[in-house]
């Protein structure tokens, strides 16, 4: 963790406050984690997985050699 400014207190309690959370860290949690509910969900579990897989494929395939498809 980059926190060179406060050696006496290297890990302030609000370490996420005041700075933008990396989208990829967020997506790791919101797409891989979180409670998965089935049943009356409008978006079925299969759809979620499909979206998830497509999305991961897109995210992982974007490289300097292969620009974003949108």
């Amino acid at each position: 963790m980059a926190d060179p400014s406060a050696p006496s207190d290297p890990f302030p309690e609000e370490s996420l406050a005041g700075r933008q959370i990396a989208l990829i860290d967020l997506l790791d949690r919101l797409l891989n984690g979180g409670a998965v509910l089935t049943g009356d969900v409008v978006l079925s579990i299969a759809d979620v997985d499909l979206v998830h897989i497509n999305l991961r494929a897109v995210i992982r395939s974007i490289t300097p050699d292969g620009p974003a498809p949108w």
Binding site: M1, A2, P10, F11, E13, S15, L16, I21, A22, L23, I24, D25, L26, L27, D28, R29, L30, L31, N32, G33, G34, A35, V36, L37, G39, D40, V41, V42, L43, S44, D47, V48, L50, V51, N54, L55, V58, I59, R60, S61, I62, T63, A68, W70
Partner: protein
């Protein structure tokens, strides 16, 4: 209110509806952010939060549990609509950050089970039915998560950083050294590069093992995420370990201290701790939570 007829709202026409109207209107769905115990601080937190599409966040309660919910347009949050939204990175980011803001606010004031992105029900009655149906499971998960937060730990190998800070012996081969043919110099340079690279990866792998050892002793649980790759993985170097730990809140500091400085003196190796997060990676029953 008589606007239940399909087509009552022409697409694209902005509508201003009260929360009550949204709840009973079938052109709106109920988006669920997180679940906690009813009668806790969630009731106080919810009215202060703004959800997706600027919707007001409310609690929907049943059987001692409460879901944090906001109304979203049914069309845009149908299976089709949602897919279209999530495939657009800008919209995905907007949804993810809004979802997170609500979960985060709830997590700071209460024990909550964060939902996966895009958990949508037809209406609040369905949300209540879901709470009743899976109440026992949610209850057990909430008990397990109480007093805990999630910390992310990532280890990176960055051979370029290592090459930029080479050991003295590898420095300035052209200083006073005997002349070397360009071809030979090139090969020497390549070999040094490969060596630096191998060293960085080896050191990063060893560090990841050490981190795992130290962290596991302080954490209640661990989940391994896939190493981050691609355009969104903005950090320098290659992510070789990406893990989440469920840590008691009174040990967060200790956890950080246990990992502090571990990468010092290791050129080309970096460790990054994120959080504390709401326990996203631990919101599924333990048997299912080992994703990768």
């Amino acid at each position: 209110m008589t606007s239940h007829l399909q087509g009552a709202a022409s697409p694209g026409q902005p509508r201003r509806l009260s929360t009550e109207q949204r709840e009973s209107d079938h052109s709106w769905s109920s988006y669920v952010y997180a679940i906690g115990r009813a009668g806790t601080d969630l009731d106080a937190i919810a009215p202060r939060l703004t959800g997706l599409r600027d919707g007001r966040v409310r609690t929907v309660a049943a059987d001692g549990l409460a879901a944090l919910v906001s109304s979203v347009p049914a069309g845009a949050f149908s299976a089709e609509g949602m897919k279209a939204q999530l495939e657009n990175l800008t919209e995905l980011e907007q949804i993810a950050r809004t979802h997170h803001t609500v979960v985060e606010a709830a997590h700071t004031g209460a024990t909550v089970l964060p939902m996966r992105l895009a958990t949508v029900y037809l209406d609040d009655a369905r949300v209540r039915a879901m709470l009743r149906e899976r109440g026992a499971e949610f209850d057990a998960l909430l008990s397990r998560l109480e007093g805990h937060a999630e910390l992310g730990v990532k280890v990176y190998a960055d051979p370029r950083a290592a090459a930029a800070d080479p050991p003295p012996a590898a420095e300035g081969p052209d200083r006073a050294a005997p002349p070397v043919s360009p071809g030979r110099a090139y090969l020497q340079q390549r070999r040094a590069q490969r060596q630096t690279q191998r060293d960085a990866y080896r050191a990063a792998g060893a560090l990841a093992d050490e981190v795992r050892g130290r962290a596991t002793g302080l954490a209640r649980d661990r989940v391994t995420h896939r190493p981050q790759q691609g355009e969104l993985a903005a950090g320098a170097g290659e992510n070789i370990a990406n893990e989440a730990y469920l840590v008691p809140v009174d040990r967060l500091r200790e956890f950080h201290r246990a990992l502090a400085g571990l990468a010092d003196g290791l050129p080309g190796v970096r460790i990054e701790v994120t959080g504390p997060w709401a326990p996203y990676s631990f919101a599924t029953p333990p048997a299912e939570s080992r994703s990768a």
